[in-house]
Subunit: 285 residues, 2 copies
């Protein structure tokens, strides 16, 4: 039901009428695909804290738009040069590189527009805080910075702290921000916010460790994207660093940390959040 509300909201907010097929490319990039992990983390965290529902839905969609734009740009020939995403041709394959570039750019702008409605549905202080959390997580000290490190790391042998540092920015920052944006739609106290930040950080790390495992154990059809591409691109991964068995044990360890952080938070309605963590740590695609 939460996922359906996200799909419906995205379908209503990503503009079909944007000019010159730009809206079509944006909708292609965002709709009818993806696990919606980040939106579900926003909504679950907001629910656990009894947060403001319309604000949480906007935050959920905003973070997904940032994620979607990053995939569009990441798939482009000058980056990962990938042709398959969520089982479909990537945006630049379907619409051309220029349109893919613009669609990604417009999706990022739309994320911040969603967070700042002028219909009174969100208190301005909450809107400003959500924008700040998202901008920090998306930018040079978050996702974009992590991607820059990733590009610069091809062919290098990173040690574990360096690998974790890269992923903390590249994928971790946005996953952690999802949790913190959920908390920002409610009145989390400092202790709860700190525990949720730890939870989000562990989810982010677990996600990447499992991603690296799946890159070598799953096939492209199951993943909906090209399998084995990290190894083919000579990118450092948790599997290449520690071996498959140790990486699997590490994923379990990080998942335990996420559980422990939730326990410490003292929040009672964390069942759904816990379930999301379990999915991240044990998923098969």
């Amino acid at each position: 039901m939460r996922q359906a509300s996200v799909e419906q909201a995205l379908a209503s907010w990503v503009p079909p009428e944007a000019p010159a097929e730009l809206g079509t490319a944006m909708r292609y990039a965002v709709l009818d695909g993806g696990k919606r992990l980040r939106p579900l983390l926003v909504l679950a965290t907001s629910e656990a804290l009894d947060g403001l529902e319309p604000a949480a839905l906007r935050a959920a969609c905003a973070v997904e738009l940032i994620h979607a734009y990053s995939l569009v740009h990441d798939d482009m020939p000058c980056m990962d040069n990938d042709v398959l995403r969520r089982g479909k041709p990537t945006v630049h394959v379907r619409f051309g590189q220029a349109q893919a570039l613009l669609a990604g750019d417009a999706l990022q702008a739309l994320a911040f527009e969603l967070l700042t409605p002028d219909d009174g549905s969100m208190p301005p202080a909450m809107a400003a805080r959500l924008c700040r959390l998202l901008a920090r997580a998306a930018g040079a000290h978050g996702m974009a910075g992590g991607q820059a490190i990733d590009l610069a790391s091809v062919g290098l042998s990173l040690d574990q702290p360096a690998l974790e540092g890269m992923h903390r920015l590249k994928t971790g920052a946005l996953l952690q921000a999802s949790v913190m944006m959920g908390a920002a739609t409610a009145d989390a106290d400092a202790h709860q916010a700190s525990c949720l930040a730890d939870f989000g950080a562990s989810i982010g790390l677990a996600f990447q460790v499992v991603d690296d495992i799946l890159d070598v154990t799953a096939d492209s059809q199951t993943l909906g994207k090209t399998a084995g591409k990290d190894a083919a691109a000579d990118k450092p991964t948790f599997v290449s660093l520690m071996g498959l068995a140790a990486a699997q044990a590490y994923a379990d360890e990080v998942l335990d940390r996420a559980h422990a952080a939730l326990d410490r938070s003292g929040l009672s309605q964390t069942g759904y959040l816990r379930g999301l963590a379990d999915w991240v740590g044990r998923r098969s695609h």
Copy 2:
């Protein structure tokens, strides 16, 4: 002095320490170049309304970051494929396409981070309103949408309303937003805001008409970018549509509209704003 404060603020806010040379690429794209027209429009409008200075400086820099990122992406091979900008090699020529893509993405995120400080220097309602104005102007119904139309228009013969519609989004939206963001740092009344929106729209149109004129009358060295490229790319322009003399007369007419809008606003301290309008309508580079 206003320009110096913008340069200084940009130099302090665009992060040199961003990882893997990303900060270097971002600073290369933003610092030590550009006419800073958009920041000056923000500051001049804010001053005319006795707005909040620290907020105006943040808004001025945020809109310049959006402008700078759009140039970085626009210059890439899949878009305009330009190698010269502000008299220097473009970002992708200097740092590679992947880094240029990421630097642009990170600059857009940084714009929204600048607008949402957590140091109490901006009232949250003002921050949220500034984010909304900037996001709308940058996105699918603003700059990015205009660029999509531009790409789709190569080789087509647009009539004047279609050409103006494209430019209203592609360059006009951000120039108009600069004026409206300046107004949002103050308590403009509805009449003033409406006159300033008209002023911003006229500035935006005048800017583009003059840009088209300069593309055929100036050389690359004066412009700091490749001259004659619109004609070479078979793009519709005001000059190709109406001829050079009529385009020059039209620029004067639009500049008169900008003056009239300022007069109607009833604001007294509009001398600097008027000067900016004159520069836009009569500039030689």
